[in-house]
Amino acid sequence: MVERNLTEAIAKNKANIDAIQAKSGVDLKECYQCGKCSAGCSMAAGMDLKPREVVRYLQLGLWDDVLKSNSPWICASCHTCVARCPHNVDIPSLMEAVRQEAKRQGIVPVKEVDVFTNVFIDSVKKNGKLHDLMLTGMYNMKSGHLMQDAWAGAPMLKSGKVGLRPHTVKDKEAVRRLIKNSLKRGESK
Amino acid sequence: MSVDVEKKNVDPNWEPKILSFSCNWCTYAGADLAGLNRMKYPENVRVIRVPCSGRVNPQFVLRAFQKGSDGVLVCGCHPGDCHYVTGNYFTRRRFLLMQRFLEYNGIDPRRFQARWISGAEAGKFRDTVTKVSNDIKALGPNKKFQESWYKERGESNE
């Protein structure tokens, strides 16, 4: 690990880190690094930076490491960490803010999660409701895991759990408009 | 003959004279603590030390306005923390009524304030004093209830 120059890192990234705190409503100074969040995190095993370390890196101004880390994408936002945190540090919101900022900068460490989100929203944009067949079909194709969970396809079709015809919302237009409005507003913020 | 001095152009370097009654055990100690921490606040407030905010007779507030004060601030311990156990409960009732009565008689509500400030709340003392003197500096000199009003205008209805 190359030696990290903190004076530089903090000077360079102070603005970004203040912005992330404002967006997520988290005050990084409140965390005294007790580790209870990492210990209780169900997805910690798969994260390169565990929740406490994400907060620590941001406290030290190491912004780029956090942007490139897969943790914000692996986080299942199950809220175990914030429920047990002595200072109520809202890590799920922090992870969400970092994920959206990384996406904005085109950094996607876990392609599958991004694909899944986009395919999900596309399906809702199309029918107003989620169409499972389209979700798994498009996801497998776009993520490259063509045969993932294929074995489950047959039983699902047989039991009628997954139908060819999507369930749709009559006023699909209203749903599409509200999705467009939200995303348009998103860019401006 | 009305008195409408309030809203006219207030000359900028006029300094209001604000009187504050502070209870010895809490607010006066808080004010001293503000001094200890070298906090800064405007010079317009003069503090009269009283043993308890319960000692402050509402007539003193009337007297202050009559003799030319531009604002009055009564401070004491938080209810429940009074060194004399129940002093500030009476203060609260007396000034809940006097505050409304002054307003009813035409005094601008911002000219009379009461606050609970404990011995540890040096910051709150500074902020309260700063806010009160800025409010009153904006309001301009108080001409209501004042004896001096006669001297200036020469009118008398003796």
């Binding site: - | 007297r63 009732r93 809940l96 009524l97 009813y104 008689n105 601008d108 009003w149 008398s156």
Partner: protein
């Protein structure tokens, strides 16, 4: 009206003759038909001077303060407001219940001598029947609820601070500091009023607007939580100052802040400034 007057005179004669009462305070006629004045009847023969008509306006209870240590009981005619005045004096320990014999007379309101219209204080009266008495002449009258008890106060409150100041400035400019309001008020029962203590420095004697304002506001503040709303101060004021608007403002705030309150209905309910509740309204945090 006259049969109550007969009964009043009969009761007075019996009381005086039995010696139970040293003298009786009631209303008597002067030169003018539309006026009465307080009289003190000692001699049973003179009971016919006592009258009961539409012009018995003055409150009699305060006169007991001139004879604080009577040998015998003092008889007083008490209407609704007088009886509350007696309660007021008893609660302030200036009068003992056993020193007075109260002749209760339900009152359906008196007339203002100048206008011959019902007197303002009677129109606004919420307790026409005596709340305490030893004997009751005639049957109780029907009470008139007063929903607009604080209407005048609300009208003033609607004004801007400057308008209000100018309103009161005009009022206080007229005050001549005759202290009639203080002398007639049952709540003003101090041995030595603060206005007479010039050496302590409370209040100047000058008759200018500032001093008048200080006197007016201080007196209203002193009696505010014990005022029985008898309206005498306003009635007797030679300059016609709207003093009840001051007292009612205090009572309105006491009602809003500390709960419904009417003074003098009994001798137990404590005046608002004499006690406190730990969960009073909090505005000074």
């Amino acid at each position: 009206m006259s049969d109550i007057q007969q009964e009043l005179r009969k009761t007075a004669r019996e009381l005086l003759e039995s010696g139970e009462v040293g003298y009786i305070i009631g209303w008597g006629k002067g030169r003018f038909a539309n006026q009465t004045h307080p009289i003190f009847v000692k001699d049973p023969a003179k009971v016919d001077e006592l009258v009961w008509d539409d012009y018995c306006l003055s409150t009699l209870a305060k006169y007991t303060q001139d004879d604080k240590y009577p040998e015998k009981k003092i008889g007083i005619c008490v209407r609704g407001c007088d009886s509350r005045a007696v309660n007021r004096l008893i609660q302030d320990h200036q009068l003992k219940r056993e020193d007075v014999y109260l002749i209760g007379i339900p009152c359906s309101g008196k007339l203002d001598p100048e206008t011959n219209e019902p007197a303002k204080k009677c129109v606004e009266c919420a307790h026409r029947n005596p709340v305490v008495y030893d004997v009751l002449l005639g049957s109780p009258v029907e009470e008139v609820p007063q929903p607009e008890r604080f209407k005048e106060v609300e009208e003033l409150e609607a004004m801007t601070p400057d308008e209000r100041y100018n309103y009161w400035a005009d009022v206080y400019d007229k005050c001549i500091r005759c202290y009639a309001c203080r002398n007639v008020c049952p709540a003003c029962n101090c041995r030595e009023c603060y206005t007479d203590q010039y050496r302590v420095g409370w209040q100047g004697k000058q008759n200018n607007r500032a001093e008048n304002q200080i006197f007016g506001i201080t007196r209203a503040y002193h009696v505010g939580d014990r005022c029985i709303e008898c309206g005498e101060c306003q009635r007797v004021c030679p300059m016609g100052l709207p003093l009840m608007k001051l007292n009612r403002k205090m009572l309105k705030d006491i009602n809003n802040l500390f709960g419904a309150y009417e003074a003098g209905l009994d001798t137990e309910t404590k005046p608002a400034l004499g006690h406190y509740e730990t969960n009073d309204v909090e505005e000074f945090m």
